[in-house]
């Protein structure tokens, strides 16, 4: 694995007084959180409590009703390109084109993301190997199982080399071995001074002192 394990420069995301409405109902109000390099936040809550909405707001995909989000002290709206270059998001869907092979998916995701194409070409296979799905390299994604697709999606996140990961249920469809793999990758990311915001119904084996919890049920 020729991955450069040099640490990320320190960074920090700070959300203040976020509110989110669905229709006329409030999902959450007055929500504030801060995460800095080397730390993680586990967002918990019942179904429909707004976990996915919160993650999408933090990504800048959705607009909060009120409140603002700062990246290293700047509003993410004003540094949106820089912010997105530092962000890797894993949503409900694995974001793979069914008509491309696993390899092609990773390469094109890297090229439209923040990596130069040539660099991506040589490393995509290594990441597939890292996630234990190198045998799917040249198979169309439509033929793969949900768990295999999820592993490739995780490979995309790791490969993006972004300091901030926002993961929505990253453990979906993964088997035990896959979960352990994901845990170890998350630990490695924290050790590299990265930061992670995630939702999950499963627990991950993460260092307790680096882990915060936010529960959306209380409101």
């Amino acid at each position: 694995m020729s991955h450069p394990l040099n640490p990320f420069p320190s960074c920090r995301i700070e959300a203040t007084q976020l509110a989110c409405l669905r229709g006329f109902n409030s999902l959450f109000e007055g929500l504030s959180l801060t995460v800095s390099s080397g730390n993680t936040i586990h967002v918990t809550g019942a179904n429909g409590s707004g976990k996915t909405s919160l993650l999408r707001i933090l990504c800048g995909l959705s607009l909060a009703e009120t409140g603002q989000i700062n990246w290293n002290g700047n509003n993410i709206q004003s540094v949106s390109s820089e912010y997105r270059a530092n962000l890797s998001y894993l949503g409900h869907k694995p974001a793979l084109k069914p008509d491309l092979t696993a390899y092609e998916n990773l390469v094109s995701a890297a090229a439209t993301g923040n990596r130069a194409l040539r660099e991506a070409d040589s490393t995509a296979t290594e990441y597939l190997r890292l996630l234990g799905v190198v045998h799917t390299r040249d198979r169309l994604c439509r033929q793969l199982s949900a768990g295999q697709k999820q592993r490739i999606a995780v490979a995309r996140v790791v490969m993006s080399d972004a300091p901030m990961w926002i993961l929505d249920e990253p453990g979906t469809s993964l088997d035990t071995e896959g979960m352990e793999l994901l845990s170890s990758l998350m630990r490695r990311h924290i050790e590299r001074n990265g930061l992670i915001i995630f939702t999950s119904h499963h627990g991950f084996d993460l260092p307790i002192d680096r882990l915060d919890r936010i529960c959306l049920d209380s409101t």
Partner: protein, 257 residues
């Protein structure tokens, strides 16, 4: 919520008057106070204008009495265009500066604009029957009005199809802006098409010289239509505001007395 966030982000006092337009409660009060009086003025002007136009004004030496439809047609046609521009402008303001009231103004205008466009089309074709011998002639103005009606319908359909109100407002604002940029081009292309296919022989509705006794009722009707438009927008805005802000304290106070 909007009020507070707008007031705290206000830059200096001279903008404070402007921010009142961003406050739903203030705008509701304003609309509530003015919708009715403006509507009454519009009604009075309608009565006077129609009396002047249908009874006092003399018949046209060429078209006889059929020209009298211009007292309805011309103001409708004007308002159809005008309301599209106002709708696009306020939708655009809502999109860029996240002013909810502005979105609601656009939403209130859309059906009215479509109605005026429809009115202009119907009166135009009614006038066409005695003048051209047929209800519909592919005249440049009528065709432009028809396309405008389609633009209004697209706007309304889009904003109704999207469930989330804020997304609906923002998406239809983009459509209104694209439409307003395209409108002059569409108008020009239709004119161009028309001159190629029909020559410039088609008589135009508004002619260069017009008798004062015809002009006065036209102007009165024009003002009446504009007042009616204003009053109707304020009225619709009132309802939109109550519905949009139903969770807030000020609406609860109004509803429960």
């Amino acid at each position: 919520m909007t009020t507070e966030s707008l007031n705290t982000s206000g830059r200096g006092k001279k903008w404070l008057w402007f921010h009142r337009f961003g406050s739903p409660a203030w705008v509701y009060g304003f609309a509530n106070r003015w919708a009715m009086p403006i509507g009454i003025v519009a009604l009075l002007l309608f009565v006077v204008g129609l009396y002047q136009g249908l009874i006092v004004a003399p018949p046209d030496y060429q078209m006889g009495d059929s020209y009298r439809i211009i007292f309805i047609h011309v103001p409708s046609a004007w308002l159809s265009m005008f309301s599209y521009f106002v709708m696009a402008a306020s939708a655009g303001i809502g999109l860029v500066w996240h002013i909810k009231v502005s979105d609601l103004v656009a939403r209130s205008i859309a059906p009215l604009g479509a109605m005026f466009t429809f009115c202009a089309l119907v009166t135009g074709s009614l006038w066409g029957k005695p003048t051209w011998g047929t209800y519909w002639v592919w005249d440049a103005r009528l065709t432009s009005e028809l396309v405008l009606l389609f633009l209004f319908i697209g706007y309304i359909a889009l904003s109704n199809a999207i469930e989330d109100r804020r997304t609906a407002s923002r998406a239809s604002a983009v459509l209104a802006l694209v439409g307003v940029i395209n409108l002059p081009i569409i108008h020009f292309s239709v004119e161009w098409w028309n001159t190629l296919h029909q020559g410039s022989t088609v008589t135009k509705l508004g002619r260069p010289s017009i008798d004062t006794r015809m002009l006065i009722p036209l102007l009165i009707m024009f003002v009446a239509f504009n007042f009616y438009f204003l009053s109707a927008v304020l009225n619709r805005l009132r309802c939109e505001l109550l519905s949009q802000e139903r969770r807030t304290q000020w609406v609860r106070e109004i509803v429960h007395g």
